[in-house]
């Protein structure tokens, strides 16, 4: 079973449109597809009824994992397969099969452990491919997937150069090499420093969360060979760490648990600046677990504020696509291109299903 | 003390104090009366309910049998 995560850099970056695009492609390949999400994909509240409007279209046969109480909120009819021992703020999460296609509200497991348990259930249900929708900029639960599709676009930042810088940064972080010393660091859950003479310093902390701790670890690491940072490593503090050690970084290896740990607090541009600095000083950064980036999707749409209200606007999609393709090795897909065809296809599929 | 002599017998000071208990309130009132210049004083009533204490403190100006300022007609 292959597990794909859909991560957005912000709201309105077309994550859901991208998800539907891939969902359709998957069904074209006749695979048994599972679908869940780590947030709540139900669109804004309908201001008339106060109820959320669903927007994820699920073809017949899709296996979804969502809060049980969300099943009734969509237009898709589902057959309950299993109530999982996992819940979120909306209650217990269940596995269900779509028997009549339609829109569904997807609110699945929102923490890493729960996502792992849910993915196991998908595997038991015979899924070959599972899509996991993201929420806001939350990346950490995606440690559990096999690859990521990243949605970005004008909603995150309208300035092209900013989007380019960020995408380059994300590409860089997701392509960090896997650590060769994996075995040695495996069992370590806190910050550990291995010295040249074989001496080991273990910290109580897992994560670099304060400038004071950064200083302390940097001091202890002056003559280290390998530094394992298993928890969160915010970009700004990694920058401080690199400045503290400076030339002393030469020949040292920093091992971070996985790429998501460098994305916390949304400080990935800062993280990449730090990675560049570490490299310049002759050090290297590796990850215990890689999460491959599969594709970048772009959405030129953004909500523009005019006189205190919002209206739809777009930046130049082609320009954006070309600019991003230049800084990442993975395919860049404009979700607005081919959009109408996709919707038409979907509609046709629905009609056909009903006719049957 | 030109006004004091006109008090018939005593001056009562009643208030509501924020205090932990009646003991603390008593101390505060005694201190206050001394600060106001009344050496001969007493606490007539203390009652604590809730966050404070109701208190009635008394400063004697003319105890019965002393020489009364108002009778002497002196300082005013």
């Amino acid at each position: 079973m292959f597990k794909v995560g859909f991560a957005g850099t912000a709201k309105n970056t077309g994550k859901t449109t991208a998800l539907m695009y891939f969902l359709q492609q998957a069904f074209a390949g006749c695979q048994r597809v599972g679908l869940s999400g780590i947030g709540y994909d139900g669109e804004d509240l309908d201001h008339l009824t106060g109820l959320p409007k669903p927007r994820v279209f699920c073809p017949r046969g899709t296996i979804i994992a969502t809060a049980q109480r969300c099943l009734a909120r969509g237009t898709a009819s589902c057959r309950l397969l299993e109530v999982l021992p996992v819940s979120n703020a909306l209650g217990p999460i269940c596995l269900a099969e779509v028997v009549n296609p339609g829109l569904a509200v997807i609110a699945g497991p929102n923490k890493r452990g729960d996502l792992r348990r849910t993915l196991k259930a998908f595997a038991r249900g015979g899924c070959e491919l599972v899509f996991v929708d993201g929420a806001f900029g939350r990346m950490s639960p995606f440690v559990e997937v096999d690859g990521l599709i990243l949605a970005t676009g004008a909603a995150r930042n309208r300035a092209l150069d900013c989007l380019v810088r960020e995408t380059r940064a994300l590409d860089r972080i997701f392509t960090l090499p896997a650590a060769v010393l994996k075995g040695a660091v495996e069992g370590e859950n806190t910050i550990v420093i291995w010295g040249q003479g074989g001496g080991t310093i273990r910290f109580r902390e897992t994560s670099l969360l304060s400038p004071e701790l950064v200083q302390e670890v940097a001091r202890a690491a002056a003559s280290a060979e390998v530094i394992s940072l298993p928890g969160a490593v915010p970009g700004r503090l990694l920058g401080k760490f690199s400045r503290e050690l400076g030339e002393d970084l030469a020949g040292k290896t920093l091992i971070v648990s996985d790429p998501t740990k460098l994305l916390v607090l949304g400080e990935y541009v800062e993280a990449v600046a730090a990675l560049d600095q570490i490299a310049a000083f002759g050090g290297r950064v590796m990850v215990r677990e890689r999460i491959p980036l599969l594709a970048v999707t772009i959405n030129p749409f953004y909500p523009r504020e005019v006189n205190n209200t919002f209206c739809k606007d777009f930046i130049d999609g082609n320009l954006l696509k070309q600019a991003l393709a230049a800084v990442t090795r993975v395919p860049v897909i404009n979700v607005r291109e081919g959009g109408p065809a996709y919707y038409l296809d979907t509609a046709r599929r629905e009609v056909v299903t009903i006719d049957n | 003390m030109k006004y004091k002599s006109r008090i018939l017998d005593a001056l009562d000071v009643e208030t509501f104090l924020l205090a932990r208990d009646e003991g603390e309130a008593k101390g505060i009132m005694e201190g206050l009366l001394v600060e106001l210049g009344f050496a001969d004083h007493d606490i007539v009533f203390l009652e604590q309910v809730g966050c404070g204490v109701r208190v009635r403190a008394r400063a004697y100006v003319h105890r019965p049998g002393v020489s009364y300022g108002w009778l002497a007609g002196g300082e005013q």
Partner: protein, 609 residues
């Protein structure tokens, strides 16, 4: 008393300033025996997570934050960081604040979300892993009473009921397609409090319906005269100041009725809190918020923790929330809306913040408080609608008696508003005045005693309808002098009379009631509470016996009320009846007001009525 396992809870105001709600929750958690640690407001997510990691064995993290621009991102980053640090599985993350819904909590990655209207007891129940049953919490201390419980609102006087039906039907039809700046503001405020409207959009639209005083405040930070903003240090100092912890003696213990209300409004919410705490301890069952009179004549409400150096505490969302934080759970809280340009909006705030009661009477507001009858009728109906929405019961006061309107006319107006409320699904409480009004000074009903005419009023109303009665406001109005002994005695005696007549509640004054030279002091509030208690103790279940005049006057009142209602009904227009003086005329001393005249709008915006 603690049945549940002791939990360790970290309380996080992930907000630049607000932590009032969390403090309230912390108190409830502490009372339930749990360990709590409240972080200061304004920390960054990484600082909060550092604190979480430093603490061993935290079971719950309760984050409070009002939803607004980019707040979702901030909260999501916080959750993500907790996960990245490897402790997400060990701790339950809860988010609370205005506009938080379970769907949003799920989207942000929290385990639970609590929105506005959540009680601390609900949060305690969640933490203890048991289902929350509203109204069954708080086994100890004073119980909050529902003043309207057990009343059928059935009419004992069919003729009056018939006239009221005609009049109120006409009012609802007349109001039909009309709206007003206040009605629009109330709807905007409601949407904004739910996060359904962007702050920028809200502000622009809201200020479009406001007076310059309010606009200047929002746009140029220009404070109205004699007001100032309380600063963070003062509010923090208040939080540290906990003299009243753990006190819960009710001096009225064992005496079921009536509930005793005091009226506060020193101008400063901090002083109000001290007065409220004092009164609660000395036996008050409820407290009534008084706002400055200019607040009623200004279109729009201000914002912020605002102190006022004269009578009346300014109604702002923040002030009300602050006051609510310090109220005992068993204390009834009334936020008055009745007499001004902000009536519907005040009900919305009162409902959102968790008040129990409000006050609405468009007849008094029109005849005794300077409001234009047409505008006030539209606003009044909308205010009742909001009160019903929030489940707030409200009193209908007859303060126009103080202007000289005879009781039978004032009561006719009161019954119209109460009947209207019933039609709309509300639970009104009748509030006849216990007062030595101009009427009785002229006609001499109190020449011999204060008992008979006050009793007549109650008997008259009890003969008309089975509805709760709450004499006010305050009882003994115009019998008080500056002498505190006299003042406390007259209050106590009026209270005993009310109790003997079987009313549901009373509002009492302090012994400073007649003193107009400065603020009321806490000691004077204790005077009358103490006096009332002694009176209740003295009479016990023994009653006060009015003379036969009481029944005669009661019959005269009912006849007068019937006459007035027939006149109003046959006039065909309630609003015109107000202008024409049928419910109180210039000869009586009542003048239809001008405030808000010509401000009504049609429901389609832009068109004047």
């Amino acid at each position: 008393m603690m049945a549940a396992e002791r939990k360790k809870i970290l309380l996080v105001p992930l907000d630049p300033v607000h932590d009032v709600g969390l403090k309230l929750i912390r108190r409830a958690l502490k009372e339930a025996g749990h360990d709590t640690l409240l972080l200061p407001p304004g920390l960054e997510p990484n600082e909060v997570v550092s604190k979480l990691l430093e603490q061993n064995g935290v079971d719950f993290v309760l984050v409070s934050r009002t939803i607004g621009y980019r707040v979702g991102e901030l909260l999501a980053e916080f959750v993500d960081l907790v996960e990245a640090c490897g402790v997400r599985e060990r701790v339950i993350l809860v988010v609370g604040g205005m506009a938080v819904r379970p769907e949003l909590a799920a989207e942000l990655g929290f385990d639970a979300g609590f929105g506005s209207g959540t009680t601390p007891e609900e949060v305690v129940a969640y933490v203890e892993g048991r289902p929350f049953v509203a109204g069954k919490e708080r086994g100890t201390g004073k119980k909050k009473v529902d003043l309207t419980a057990g009343y059928s609102y059935a009419y004992r006087n069919r003729e009056i009921e018939k006239q009221l039906d005609l009049i109120t039907q006409e009012i609802l039809t007349w109001v039909g397609n009309k709206t007003s700046p206040a009605v629009e503001r109330a709807r905007l405020a409601f949407s904004a409090l739910r996060g359904e409207i962007e702050p920028g959009e809200f502000r622009e639209k809201y200020l479009g319906y406001c007076d310059d005083l309010v606009r200047d405040y929002y746009n140029h930070r220009r404070l109205p005269n004699r007001t100032r903003l309380l600063d963070r240090e003062e509010l923090d100092a208040l939080e540290r100041h906990q003299h009243w912890e753990g006190i819960s003696t009710a001096v009225r213990e064992g005496l079921p009725r009536p509930a005793i209300f005091i009226q506060y409004g020193t101008g400063c919410p901090i002083m109000d809190i001290m007065h409220i705490k004092t009164c609660e301890a000395w036996g008050a069952d409820g407290v009534v918020h008084f706002d400055p009179s200019w607040g009623a004549r200004t279109e729009g409400l201000l914002a912020g923790y605002l102190a006022h150096s004269e009578d009346g505490t300014v109604i702002t969302l923040e002030n009300l929330r602050l006051l609510k934080e310090y109220l005992w759970p068993g204390t009834l809280w009334q936020v008055r809306a009745h007499r001004g340009l902000n009536t519907p909006e005040t009900v919305v705030l009162a409902g959102e913040v968790g008040a129990d009661l409000t006050k609405i009477n468009m007849v008094y507001a029109s005849l005794g408080a300077g409001m234009d009858p047409a505008r006030m009728t539209v606003d009044g109906v909308e205010a009742i609608r909001w009160a019903v929405h929030y489940g707030l019961s409200f009193d209908v006061v007859t303060n126009e008696e103080l202007c000289g309107v005879p009781a039978y006319k004032a009561f006719a107006g009161m019954l119209i508003v109460a009947h209207l409320a019933r039609k709309m699904g509300g639970r009104p409480i009748l509030q006849p005045l216990f007062c030595r009004s101009p009427e009785v000074m002229i006609y001499g009903q109190m020449k011999d005693n204060y008992i008979d005419y006050n009793a007549a009023k109650i008997l008259a109303l009890q003969g008309i309808i089975d509805a709760p009665l709450w004499p006010g406001a305050p009882i003994g109005f115009l019998t008080h002098t500056e002498d505190r002994v006299q003042s406390a005695v007259t209050t106590a005696l009026h209270a005993c009379l009310a109790r003997s007549l079987g009313v549901e509640a009373i509002s009492i004054a302090s012994s400073d009631e007649a003193y107009a030279g400065g603020p009321i002091v806490a000691a004077s509030r204790i005077d009358t509470l103490r006096g009332t208690y002694e009176g209740f103790r003295f009479f016990g279940s023994a009653g006060i016996e009015p003379t036969s005049r009481a029944q005669e006057w009661a019959q005269e009142l009912v006849a007068g009320i019937t006459r007035v209602l027939k006149d109003v009904a046959s006039s065909g227009s309630f609003v015109q009846a107000l202008y024409r003086g049928l419910l109180g005329s210039p000869e009586d001393g009542a003048y239809p007001g001008r405030v808000g005249r010509g401000t009504l709008l049609r429901k389609e915006p832009g068109e004047d009525v």
